[in-house]
């Protein structure tokens, strides 16, 4: 008997006007698992991510967390379920500081909604220097736009780690990164998995996916074409499946 999945989406459908974005999609993420969500442009990957992270609601189908049916109606709901989505181009606000990004939407406040800036600064420094070991930051008020692509991803991941995320959803995380930064990101994923954080890795880049994922779900035209474990496939086979559809 296989263990209960961390998150399971069953029979998910979504329509935008006349466009059927998803049709009866089944998708699941296990514990300590990195799942690659693959497919060409317009396959429905982003729609699925938006449903998981509460930005969109599916027209039909159900979502299960640890074997219990749940509703994800908002970003807050998905946050409560331990799902953290990191978008390729919009994980952080460039014109705001690291601290303000780190606590965006989860600010620690004192009375009357006044920010507890000191506490938040301390937490950010502690997490960046100790828990995620990003050395070199000596001020939590550095603006995010001053960081490189990889450093931004690292900050977004540090945030997920601090807020006890059970599952990271990474939407095209490597598309804006250099080779070296991509390498680091992939090793971050492996480390996080070891610490009990699962991940969904949405990407065009099969090489990156193949390197870091345990299982692959391939979407095409809003339908699941195949779900296959890494052990049962090769990079070449994956490529063929995507190209064929």
């Amino acid at each position: 008997m296989p263990e209960t999945p961390l998150l399971e989406l069953r029979n998910i459908s979504k329509q935008y006007g006349h466009v059927q974005a998803l049709t009866g999609v089944d998708f699941m993420i296990g514990r300590n698992e990195v799942v690659g969500l693959l497919g060409d442009n317009g396959a429905g990957k982003s729609t699925l991510v938006r449903i998981m992270s509460g930005i969109e609601r599916s027209d039909s189908g159900s979502i299960w967390r640890d074997g219990r049916e749940v509703k994800i109606r908002s970003r807050k709901d998905s946050e409560r379920l331990g799902i953290e989505t990191i978008y390729q181009d919009s994980a952080l606000v460039g014109s705001a500081s690291i601290m303000r990004n780190f606590f965006a939407g989860r600010e620690v406040t004192k009375a009357f909604g006044i920010l507890d800036t000191k506490h938040m600064n301390d937490v950010v420094m502690d997490v960046l220097l100790n828990a995620v070991r990003i050395s070199g930051i000596n001020a939590p008020d550095i603006l995010v736009e001053e960081l490189s692509g990889g450093q931004r991803q690292a900050v977004a991941i540090a945030r997920a780690v601090y807020f006890k995320t059970a599952m990271l959803v990474l939407d095209e995380p490597t598309s804006a990164l250099s080779v070296r930064e991509t390498d680091k990101l992939l090793s971050h994923l492996t480390e996080l998995k070891r610490d009990g954080v699962s991940a969904v890795f949405i990407t065009h880049n099969l090489y990156h996916a193949y390197e870091s994922c345990d299982r692959f779900t391939i979407l095409s035209h809003g339908k699941v074409i195949q779900t296959v474990a890494k052990a049962d496939t090769t990079l070449r086979e994956l490529n063929e499946i995507i190209v064929r559809h």
Binding site: G105, A139, S187, E191, D195
Partner: protein, 339 residues
């Protein structure tokens, strides 16, 4: 907390302390502050050297400045809050005039002045909220939505006033509190300072303020982290309307009358003050101190030109030049610091 041992990523060194000079120099607020201090110093030295010709430090002139700055300054505080969220409000000039009529007519109809005051502030905030709701619900540019309400509210003023000015003579307690003076400083300026502090606390120190910056900085991201971006914008629009109505109330109380044509063009001046103060049209940046200094600077330039008896068009030339230079410098500084 999950401990993840990840490979170290070296971030750019930002100087030894959190407050390094290198970083402070790159902030737009530093430049406006330096410009303000330098101009003040020149004016004061000029006034001391030529007391007969350049009457900058005379009580009349100082009083004039303290009375003139708050009107547009208070409007700019509201407009600035909204600009931080990445939106505009072109209706503030009309709301400013409507507020004058509102308080004068409500008081004239027999309402206690404090009720008329509160009612007028509510009307201002409500017009702002309506602008916000139309903008976010219909998904149209606020430039267009508020241009519409600028005309509608201006039309409402004409209809209410029938083209006539209305007088406003409330009791002395109210007049003293709004437009009197305290320790030699004009009350409107003290109100401006107080409102600047309140707005600064809201914008820089509260959760709402943080959300305003995040929404203006990148709306998609703000939405993704669970911020109700529409609500944040509607609140900011309300503050803009509220600011314009407070300015209208102070102005009407000060001159005891309100005319239908006043307040025209204030909306663009308010945007100019905010931009000079280091705010960006694209949102997500800037400080409340910048807005305060921007307002002071605008009137400082106007005042100096008047004292030097320069022809009126010089003012537009100077303000226009400062505006463009401010935007060029601030954009350059931001580009320089980002990667």
């Amino acid at each position: 907390m999950t401990k993840a041992v990840l490979e170290p990523i070296v971030l750019p060194a930002a100087g030894k302390s959190r407050f390094s000079w290198r970083r402070i120099r790159r902030e737009p607020i530093t430049n406006i502050f330096i410009l303000f201090v330098v101009l003040q110093a020149i004016c004061i030295i000029g006034a001391l050297a030529f007391p007969a010709d350049f009457r900058y430090l005379t009580p009349t002139n100082v009083g004039l400045l303290f009375r003139a700055i708050p009107m547009l300054g208070i409007i700019s505080l509201g407009v600035g809050m909204l600009m931080i969220t990445g939106e505009f409000d072109l209706s503030v000039g009309s709301v400013y005039t409507l507020a004058g009529y509102s308080i004068a007519l409500l008081y004239g109809a027999g309402m206690p002045v404090w009720v008329a005051l509160l009612g007028t502030m509510v009307i201002g905030a409500a017009i702002g909220a309506a602008n916000g709701i139309i903008t976010v619900r219909a998904g149209i540019p606020s430039f267009i939505a508020t241009m519409g309400s600028m005309l509608v509210v201006r039309g409402l003023v004409r209809w209410l006033s029938e083209g006539r000015s209305v007088t406003f003579h409330p009791d002395e307690t109210f007049t003293d509190l709004v437009t009197g003076s305290f320790a030699g400083i004009e009350a409107p300026f003290l109100w401006f300072v107080l409102l600047t502090i309140i707005v600064a606390v809201i914008v820089h120190r509260t959760k709402l303020g943080n959300h305003m910056y995040l929404v203006g900085g990148n709306e998609k991201t703000a939405l993704a982290v669970g911020i109700n971006t529409r609500l944040v914008k509607i609140i900011a629009f309300s503050f803009s309307g509220l600011g314009a109505s407070i300015a209208g109330i102070i102005s009407t109380t000060r001159v005891s009358t309100v005319t239908p044509a006043q307040g025209v063009g204030l909306e663009l001046k308010a945007v100019a003050i905010c931009v000079i103060g280091g705010l960006f049209l694209s949102g997500g940046r800037g400080t409340v101190l910048g807005i305060f200094l921007g307002a002071c600077l605008m009137y400082l330039v106007e005042d100096v030109l008047l004292l030097l008896r320069a022809p009126g068009f010089y003012l537009d030339v100077f303000v226009g030049a400062i505006l463009v230079i401010a935007v060029v410098v601030n954009t350059w500084l931001t580009k320089k610091s980002s990667r």
